[in-house]
Symmetry: C2
Subunit: 332 residues, 2 copies
């Protein structure tokens, strides 16, 4: 029997369509293994030796005199840093200059890696860079929201093979972000505590959707997953913003991020995915009603007219089965 | 210079990234023309002669003793009609049985057509069927929202080639639909009239994004288009629900829907697309603050992590150029 399930925070609904349910194994990517990528490509702006093809580094980590990670301004940025936030009218329509900051985190000099296959040290470098740049961008006036994300593979909207993440800071908190904040605020006003913390408590009690728990993090396939193998990583301690993460938590975060992506990589045969780190708006970096997390969305299905029209996603896979499948994956 | 533009109704923002702007012609689909489809396929449940492969018709239109259009229950429905709307708790989570109604509009007996290539009479049949079923479903208690949509092509999430639309009626109005309603309600409380009517007035004044105007309809590429060639069809007379469309308006709607899809078909070389008819919730079928419309979303780009995370879409094509391009398409 199909069922509606509600996202406890956003109040959006999904349909878990068990009648046409797919087993997790049906979603293993059948793609041919590509020719293994080379460690270096002459025309790749992110490869070691090609540094002149990008703007200078904003931050880097070195080892034995060569860089292991670089953060550079996005050369093809959708937003620019020299503009204003002034709103302008075009008749009855509202617009503003495209002020904002867009950066690229080049996670490793090697062209043929991804987070699931890197050394753990490189993953640590990556999340250290996230924190460094998040902190630096937080201090720039006029920015309101910092979004860190990773597009992996063509179905996830990237054309660049070289391992990288992106950071975009905007002077706007859009309704898409604000609406769930209103909901979590209302819940906090009603019950007196963070609804995300309550959700985690419930997930730990029920256990069926838990993929992994470490000292500082909980990994789950959410109750109201919008698509197969949606997976989320939550800090167990209440923190509204990523900016406050401690060194010890950061090391655990690197471990759990890599381990989760390895489970997907091994279990589903290297699926394309997006992940997004959702942190509170800069102004709300120490509030009771928000809780930062990472959502990983493997691109295994295509949203269609019903999803676009209603925001109600039809998910043909049980989150409980996805979590069980991921728990069972052997990752050496 | 890139710019933010705000959707006047939903208050969501897009980024029009002119620095990496694509010209409309860059988006013409480079796909090879497939082998022309046959008019009949033995294993297609929607083809003439294969009626036993679907449940019996809920509505049909005949000509010379054979059907030209059929509406049938969706055999692989994500929702079922014999369930209840009762909310249930699973610990702290909320769910409900998957009650709802899902139907398929088989638009023609011929396998190898699409709206852009059909006889206008078949397009008329299709929108007549939309109104018939919309009206019938409106009268069933416990349903709150009726969504009519068409998924065309693999990138739009369909695997069935045979020309068809879908109708899904749900017992829930989700936040994704409710939030813009709050905004248009607030605008109506503030200014005393329909914000959509005001937006159309502005578009007609500026003219630059108008693709076509007929007696009853206005076709535009919206100011804050989320993706290239997003195109919307609005009734010029204020109506919150599709259910109230008159016969004369319906004939004009069929014409303008087909003509718009022809412009995309010819201009962009048969792109995949979703279209969605957004009508008010059933209870609000005669309100001042909503206005029904059709949004057509050609699948020319892939939303990535930033779009998923923030709801701010980066659009690399100017809506003004898209409208100009579409106006210039010769459609015999």
């Amino acid at each position: 029997m199909p069922e509606f399930r509600q996202n406890m925070v956003s109040k959006e609904w999904v349909i878990i369509a068990t009648e046409r349910a797919k087993r997790p194994v049906d979603l293993v990517q059948q793609k041919e293994r590509k020719n293994p990528l080379p460690p270096y490509k002459e025309d790749c702006p992110f490869c070691h030796g090609n540094e002149s093809m990008t703007p200078p580094s904003l931050f880097s980590i070195e080892k034995n005199g060569v860089w292991s990670l670089r953060v550079v301004p996005n050369k093809f940025a959708a937003l620019q840093s020299h503009l204003t936030t002034e709103r302008k009218h075009e008749g009855r329509f509202l617009k503003a200059d495209g002020f904002g900051i867009a950066e690229v985190v080049i996670e490793t000099p090697l062209h043929n890696q991804t987070i699931a296959t890197m050394d753990l040290e490189e993953v640590k470098n990556t999340v250290v860079a996230y924190r460094e740049r998040y902190t630096a961008l937080s201090k720039i006036g006029q920015l309101d929201l910092i979004t860190i994300f990773r597009n992996y593979g063509q179905k996830a909207g990237t054309s660049l093979e070289h391992p990288h993440s992106q950071i975009i800071a905007t002077p706007i908190v859009p309704p898409h972000v604000r609406n769930p904040l209103y909901q979590s605020q209302l819940a906090c006003d009603t019950f007196g505590d963070c609804i995300y913390c309550g959700m985690m408590e419930e997930e730990r009690r029920q256990q069926v959707r838990v993929v992994k728990e470490t000292k500082y993090f909980l990994v789950i396939c959410p109750f109201a997953s919008r698509s197969p193998f949606e997976t989320r990583i939550y800090p167990k301690t209440h923190r509204s913003s990523f900016v406050t993460i401690s060194d010890e938590e950061l090391a655990d975060f690197a471990f759990v991020l890599q381990e989760t992506l390895k489970r997907l990589y091994v279990g589903l045969n290297d699926p394309d995915y997006n992940y997004i780190l959702r942190s509170a708006p800069i102004e709300d970096s120490d509030v009771k009603y928000h809780h930062w997390y990472v959502v990983i969305v493997p691109k295994l299905t295509t949203p269609a007219g019903f999803e676009i029209g209603t925001g109600i996603y039809i998910n043909t896979t049980l989150p409980e089965q996805c979590a069980e499948f991921l728990r069972g994956i052997q990752i050496q």
